[in-house]
Symmetry: C2
Subunit: 148 residues, 2 copies
DNA sequence: ATATAGTCTATCTAAATAGTAGACTATTAT
DNA sequence: ATAATAGTCTACTATTTAGATAGACTATAT
C-alpha cells in the first residue's frame, strides 16, 4: 500500500494548481517548482484533464488550471482519477478475480480490506484542495515562527 | 494501495496454518488447498520463517507450523514481514527520500498519509489469527444456514 | 506570420512481479 | 546404513509496470 512517484507527482501537481488558483499555469512551471520530469508531467496532466480534475488553454497565455473550485476537489477523486479504485484487495471491485478465489462467499479478507478501504476513502474524501492549502499555510507559518 | 498476489498468498498461507494449528502442514497441502504455485509458496514460507511468523520441521512428518499462538500473530506483522513498512508515502519512514522533496518540513502530505497509515495499522493489528479463524467460522455457519 | 504552449503517439529502460528448475540437507523409519 | 520424505537454497526466466524521453502536431494570441 505505497504511493508511487506518479501518485506523488499527481498530488504535488494539484497542490500547485490550487496554490495558483486563478492563473493559467505552465507545465514547465509546475515541473520546475515541484521537481517533476516535464514530459512525464505532460501526460499526467492529460489524465487529470480526462478525469475532469483540471482544464487547459492552448497558445500564449495558456496553461493548466483546476476545472472546479479547490473546495470541490478532494484527494480521493484526485488519486482515483489516475489509478482507478485503490481498494487494497482486488475482489472488492474486480468480479473476475473472485472466481479464482478458493473462499468465494466466506472470505474474511474481503470484509477486512473492504472495511479498511472505506476508512481510507473517508479520510481522503474529507480533504479538499482548499483545506489542503490551509493546512499548508498553517504549517508554513509555524515554520516561520520557529526560525525566528 | 493494492495487495498483490504475494500478499494474497501470504494471508491465505497463515490462515491455512492457523486453521491447522497443532499439525505440521506440508507445503504441497497449503499449495493445493489455497491454490498457490508450490515453488512460489516455498519461498514465501522461507520469508515468513525468517520473520519469525512460522517455523518448520524437516523430514518425514515434517512441515510448517505457526511459530507462535494464533492469538499472538496479527495481520500487520504478517504483511509487514514480507513487504516491509506499508506506509503509503515513503517519507513517513525513508529519511533519504525526504531530501529530494521540495517541501521538507512543511509538507502536508506527510501528515495526511502518516495519519492514514496509523489508522490502517491499528485495524490490521487488531486482527490476530485467532480472531481471523473465528470470523471465518462465523461466515461459514451463515453460509450453511442460507443454503438450507 | 510566428511564437507560444498544450496534445498525441511511440519508444525505451529498469525494476518489480510471478513463476520455474534443480541440486542440496536434515530427519525418520526400516 | 539407507531410502524416502520434506524442507532449503541459489539461480534463472518471462511478463508486466513504472518512470522517463522524443518528436511531430494543433490551437491561439499578438
Amino acid at each position: 500500500m505505497k504511493l508511487n512517484y506518479e501518485d506523488d507527482y499527481t498530488l504535488k501537481t494539484v497542490f500547485d494548481l490550487a496554490l495558483h488558483y486563478g492563473e493559467n499555469v505552465h507545465i514547465a512551471d509546475i515541473a520546475r517548482r515541484q521537481d517533476i520530469p516535464g514530459k512525464f508531467l505532460e501526460q499526467l496532466l492529460l489524465k487529470l484533464k480526462k478525469a475532469g480534475i483540471v482544464a487547459s488553454k492552448k497558445g500564449p497565455n495558456g496553461g493548466y488550471y483546476l476545472a472546479k473550485k479547490p473546495k470541490d476537489i478532494n484527494l480521493k477523486q484526485v488519486l482515483e482519477s489516475i489509478k482507478g479504485p485503490f481498494a487494497p484487495i482486488e475482489c472488492a471491485w474486480n468480479k473476475d478475480y473472485i472466481k479464482k478465489c478458493p473462499y468465494f462467499v466466506d472470505c474474511v479478507f474481503k470484509d477486512i480490506f473492504t472495511d479498511i478501504y472505506k476508512d481510507v476513502s473517508k479520510k481522503l474524501k474529507a480533504i479538499d484542495l482548499n483545506k489542503l492549502i490551509m493546512m499548508h499555510k498553517k504549517k508554513q507559518k509555524l515554520k516561520g515562527l520557529k526560525s525566528e
